[in-house]
């Protein structure tokens, strides 16, 4: 079974802090995604990556950056956390052979105070 893990289930940070959210998948998937989920808004795509060192902006990239130095790991970075970035963050991965089912991690609930 594909396993996608995220570094923390719950995280509390202060405004202005730099925050790293880590995601690791164990199925050699090429594509990885970061979403945030907010009540009434569903899931919104922040960034995605098709390959190592490649990144593409999603629908709401402002205030975020990403890093993909290894195929299995995709990091989301909040350069200077703000209260409006309090949210549930979900990482997902999928292979690149035309089957588009995404496998999700358990999520990180981030609170910025």
């Amino acid at each position: 079974d594909v396993k996608v893990t995220q570094s923390s289930r719950y995280l509390v940070k202060r405004t202005g802090e730099k925050v790293f959210l880590e995601c690791v998948q164990d199925m050699d998937h090429e594509n990885m995604f970061w979403y945030r989920q907010d009540p009434g808004l569903g899931l919104r795509l922040i960034y995605f990556s098709y390959d190592v060192k490649m990144k593409e902006k999603g629908d709401i990239p402002e205030g975020y950056s990403v890093s993909r130095e290894k195929k299995e790991r995709f990091s989301l970075i909040l350069e200077s956390a703000s209260t409006n970035q309090t949210s549930m963050y979900l990482c997902a991965s999928t292979n690149g052979d035309g089957i588009y089912e995404q496998y999700f991690g358990p999520g990180t609930r981030l609170t910025v105070t």
Binding site: V4, N31, F33, Y35, G40, L41, G42, L43, R44, L45, F48, Y50, E56, G58, D59, M88, L90, A92, T94, G96, Y100, E101, Q102, Y103, F104, G105, P106, G107, R109
Partner: protein, 110 residues
């Protein structure tokens, strides 16, 4: 940008009854997928239907797709307490990106 919109936003039914939820979308798609999310957890893929398919079954799940109306429905038959969750439709249009709807919260009453 929001592509899929689920209807209803919330649904409560008795255990054993069937649950139907609908999804409408705006642009042409390659496929449409349904996911389930238990409270506070990640999403789990349920079923994928391609744009050239009209109906698909998987266990107690039945999905239909009407591309002329840009809509899909998910039917869960003989519901169980464990089906209590939020259900999301997601459309894939290009580049393997998915666009998710806002979800239907399903509650099964024992």
């Amino acid at each position: 940008s929001q592509q899929g919109e689920e209807d209803p936003q919330a649904l409560s039914i008795q255990e054993g009854e069937n649950a139907t939820m609908n999804c409408s979308y705006k642009t042409s798609i390659n496929n449409l997928q349904w996911y389930r999310q238990n409270s506070g957890r990640g999403l789990v893929h349920l079923i994928l239907i391609r744009s050239n398919e009209r109906e698909k079954h998987s266990g107690r799940l039945r999905v239909t797709l009407d591309t002329s109306k840009k809509s899909s429905s998910l039917l869960i038959t003989a519901s169980r307490a464990a089906d209590t969750a939020s259900y999301f439709c997601a459309t894939e249009s290009l580049n393997e990106k998915l666009t998710f709807g806002t979800g239907t919260r399903l509650t099964i009453i024992p």
